[in-house]
């Protein structure tokens, strides 16, 4: 059975560093290269590697499609909700100064960028995994003669 033994072991060793690196990109994006989009894609790659090696059914046990759909929506909601919150506080839409005490606009910018990038990362990661699952979980209709 263990025909793909090396592949399985190496994948198991690599998936945690990939996720850790995605988090690094997400939260270090203010200082170095990277940001929410890149972090989301890298995070999705970890799940996709798992699905390729261990099968899509195993992946759907880890993150069911309902969770993925909810994640996609929650990310956009987090982004837009930040803007709505600043509207409620009497500022312009997506004006992050609303998130801090008056006079400390910089802190508000930091917090706002963190929230917004988190929303982007959540949406991108969930959408990428969902697209992959949608493509991969259908059995292909390729006949042997086509190959």
């Amino acid at each position: 059975m263990e025909h793909h033994f090396i592949l399985r072991v190496i994948s198991k060793m690599l998936i945690p560093p990939i996720m850790l690196y995605a988090l690094y990109v997400q939260f270090h994006g203010d200082f170095g290269p990277g940001g929410g989009f890149q972090a989301g894609v890298i995070f999705a790659v970890a799940f996709i590697l798992y699905a390729i090696v261990f099968g899509v059914e195993t992946l759907t046990l880890v993150c069911p499609p309902a969770v993925l759909r909810a994640g996609m929506a929650l990310g956009v909601l987090l982004y837009a909700g930040t803007g709505v919150y600043s509207l409620l506080r009497g500022y312009n839409y997506l004006d992050y100064a609303a998130l801090a005490e008056p006079g400390h606009a910089e802190h508000g910018q930091h917090l706002g960028i963190l929230l917004v990038e988190g929303g982007v990362g959540l949406t991108v990661a969930s959408a990428m995994i969902a697209i992959f699952v949608a493509f991969a979980s259908r059995s292909p209709d390729i006949k042997d003669t086509d190959w």
Binding site: I42, I48, V76, H110, I113, A127, A130, A134
Partner: protein, 166 residues
């Protein structure tokens, strides 16, 4: 030299993505190179393969002559190359790009936002509406793919059952 093997095309597009990431690195665009690396190395190959599961392995030979497409490509390429003659030299400080909004961002970011990475500041704060739109586009794309593939697989299953009954 025409490749009809779609597998080879997918693999060579991976090589192209690697090369273009190297190009962005040479142009000193760290964030763009990072995006190209993240998307090109992992996701795009996998998604193109996922699409190939629904199609055949080789491209069909074209039905009509290739003269017109080649003419269009050559004319467009010649026009673009002619246009580059008027461009300012690479990295020159007095191009319109460097004079319009870029110096303002570079000047205002440290005391208004206080982030070392100006690209992140522009993306998330100065151009926050743009990024909201992009996130919505990704959300819409994900929803669209889920809806499309879910529907058609359900219909196929029903057809199979009908055939079995008949």
């Amino acid at each position: 030299m025409v490749l009809r093997d779609l597998f080879a095309a997918v693999m060579l597009s991976g090589v192209f993505s690697l090369l273009s990431a190297g190009l962005f690195v040479a142009l000193d665009a760290v964030d763009v190179a990072f995006t190209e690396a993240a998307v090109g190395a992992g996701i795009s190959t996998v998604l193109m393969l996922g699409t190939m599961a629904f199609t055949s392995r080789t491209e069909k030979p074209p039905q009509h002559s290739r003269a017109l497409p080649i003419l269009v490509v050559v004319v467009t390429g010649a026009a673009l190359i002619y246009g580059t003659a008027d461009l300012p030299p690479f990295g020159s400080p007095d191009t319109p790009v460097q004079l319009h909004v870029a110096p303002e961002y570079i000047e205002r970011t440290p005391h208004e936002i206080g982030l070392p990475n100006i690209v992140t500041a522009v993306l998330a704060s100065y151009r926050g509406f743009d990024t909201l739109g992009e996130t919505t586009v990704i959300f819409t794309a994900g929803i669209a793919v889920i809806v499309l593939l879910h529907r058609s697989s359900g219909r196929r299953r029903k057809e199979d059952e009908d055939e079995e009954e008949a």
